[in-house]
């Protein structure tokens, strides 16, 4: 039994950033708290714990979700990508690079959520203009007000690079 978790823990399997993990988790543990507290993946942030700010956004089977609104046991068998899994080794994901170039963050606390959300957004394929990006990214709050730069950064990452 893990301390403070009661007797009722559940065995789940999660693939996190490519590694398969077998975990014993309490049913009341959210995916976000599992990532941050158990797995040491503190890149996913807790801003509200109510699905209202988007700082905890991760990709589950390629789809962006608020990990604070998902219990870990609900995701048995899923593949989770967090901010720590976006880059390939030293090579940043194009969105990460674009965020740096456009200064699309200040304090950095909402940034992992913005990035994971942007990856999900691009995969969804519904954003065709800056206004679309604004609308479809509105679940990710940024109190520093980096919005114009985030929109520009995502816009650039969505366009195929000429030099690629």
């Amino acid at each position: 039994m893990l301390p403070g978790m009661g007797d009722d823990t559940c065995a789940i399997t999660l693939k996190v950033n490519g590694s398969t993990l077998r975990l014993q988790v309490a049913p009341w543990t959210t995916l976000l708290d599992l990532l941050r507290e158990r797995l040491g993946l503190t890149g996913s942030k807790k801003g509200c714990d109510h699905g209202q700010c988007g700082a905890c956004t991760v990709l589950v089977d390629g789809v962006r979700i608020n990990s604070c609104l998902s219990l870990a046991v609900m995701r048995d068998g899923a593949s989770v990508t967090t901010i720590e899994g976006l880059a390939e080794g030293d090579a940043l994901h194009p969105l990460q690079q674009s965020f740096i170039e456009h200064d699309a963050f200040q304090c950095g606390y909402c940034t992992p959520g913005q990035l994971c959300s942007a990856v999900g957004l691009i995969a969804e394929g519904h954003a065709h203009s800056e206004d679309d990006i604004r609308e479809l990214m509105s679940g990710n709050l940024c109190r520093c007000g980096a919005y114009p730069n985030i929109v520009a950064a995502i816009g650039q990452a969505m366009r195929p690079r000429r030099d690629a």
Binding site: W28, E37, G40, G43, H50, I83, L92, P112, G145, P148
Partner: protein, 742 residues
Amino acid sequence: MTTGKTGAPHDRVDGRAKVTGQARYAGEFTAPDLVHGFVVTSAIARGKIVRIDAAEALALPGVLQVYTHENAPRLAWRDRSWRDMVAPGGSPLRPLHDAEVQFSGQPIALVVAESFELAREAAGLVKVDYEAAPHETRLAEVEAEAHEPARGKKGYTPPPKPRGRADEALAAAPVRVEATYEHPPLHHNPMEPHATTVIVEADGSLTIHDKTQGVTNSRDYVCKVFGLASDQVRVVTPFVGGGFGSGLRPQYQLFLAVLAARELRRSVRVVLSRQQMFTIGYRPWTRQRVALGAERDGRLRALIHEAVGNTSRFEDYCENVVPWSGVLYECPNTRLEYGVAALDLYTPIDARAPGAVTGLWALESAIDELADALDIDPLALRLKNYAEEDQDHRRPFSSKALRDCYREGAARFGWHRRSLAARSMREGALQIGWAMATGIWEAQQAPSQAKALLTADCRLHVASASGEIGPGTYTIMSQIAAEQLGLPLAAVRFELGDTALPPAMIQGGSATASSVGSAVLAVCRALQHSLLKLAQTMPDSPFGGRALEDVEFVDRSLRLCSGVAPAVPIAAIMRHAGLGSIAEQTTAIPDLARQSRYTSNAHSAVFVEVAVDEALGTVTVRRVVSAVAGGRILNPKTARSQILGGVVWGIGMALEEHSMLDHGLGRFVNHNLGEYHVPVHADVPAIDVVFVEERDDVVNPLGVKGLGEIGIVGVAAAIANAVFHATGRRIRELPITLDKLL
């Protein structure tokens, strides 16, 4: 690789850490023995706790302790021990001190358990009985009892004495406007909740990761309250997930986490919930009356500005709301007054551009009202009354490029195409409004220290116990240092946020670039001096008899500015001297004798376009131009971001943000990010930021004025003025929600 330079739009040096999730915030440090605290807050606004029963919580396996006023240790008893560096006058909150409840949401217990979930669950099981006393949370009810704030708050200056005879001049003025403006309490809501992780080291000392804008402030507070020596407490905070003022004072989770760690002798983390983020400070609820009297040609004859902001019953929070009105426009007769009135709420705390945001919301709305009454272009009216000197202090401005802000902002916005009358611009069902306002903020410098270590491989380590709440401190300090020693940016490492480093001013008031930047500049100049001295001892040195003004550091080398002799690599100078490294430490102290002969302010002119749906009352900000005179710009990329952030805050203040009180309960009831509306992506249009050229060699050695505050000042007024221009409706109570326009 080229030399790092100020003035260049370098990417943030901490960018990679922030986009990969490696930047670590206060609640993300850990230890093998870590346990979790969850705070229980009061359900009443005023009264006494008559019984607090933690038995059920303590019965849960894994719950370690529940701290309340009944079992918390007795600590420092003097108010001054509890007063932090920036505390206002009064008696600071002492969590768990006694049974008295002074505001709704006051921390009254801390549950500590082996897991976060368990601590949170157990917190819900703590039963509290109260004896409630009548409370008051309505500003209008106490406004008449407003008093001069008690002394003690750093940076607060009482309003200047009246000039001329404002009331008589107002009565005699051919054209008068007079109105009352109000905004509600506003919570900062940084994305990172307030959090503290206290690590108990093997020797019993404490390493504290606290969400704070000043590690020294947190360290000193803990030492005074708990009676600890400064070498027993180290505060380390490399990143802060947004502050905006909320981290200027130690928040109660710091106290509670330290208390539990000392009692349990275990590492403890306490993180506030988003709901609890509404139990700490806020921008105070403020009502203001502005009366302006003018000649028919627009010249101001009288200016009266009176403001009352709320405070708590136990501290006199105060801010500089009205002094700007005596400085911004030329007017022979002014009367400025400010008072605070106590409510049964927690003490407010500085919020981005404290005071100026508030005062300029009223003043710049009133100027627009006067322009309308005079039938004069609002920009022309401002230029007509442009102040060429600080009349209240009878001294010149060290620099003031506000006229350039007006001119460049207007040109970028296309102001000349504006039609003067309200309700004169339409696009189908949309009423279009164009308006503007002025912003102002005080340029400040406070003493700060920095140390530097230059190694023979030309790597430079610079450090100061400053902070990084988001402005780009790591980046601009690295740029300053790289430029001084002619190094590439990548060769410089700047370290901050650690009380083991030389102390710096608290990160607030837009003064980090000026204060810590000046310290970095000074310590690098000390290194330059040492290197020049060493270079002069080299055989056939071209530097004999030369002073620092005659030389420059470029491409890792020292050379004569005249270029008549070959450059000498820094590595060669150190090799010749047989040195592996050179270390310096310096304090930069403001030149007060010189600075006090001038008034130094940053300025802005903000132009906005809004569209109002006449049938629905919805307001959309469609574009913003913010033209800023902020002295020298160290990094145009991060500087622009600071202004963007300020404008976004202004949009929130004007149209969305409102901490709503239920006066029956005496508590903030929309205490979450679903109901406390902050701007989201869809609310923010293209924002055009312009920095006008402004040289200032008085304000500090770098000539910078700071940019964290100026971006927000005036924005709410500009938007309210644009709503008037669109609709003909003057809304004087923020936020401008659709119910006020229907």
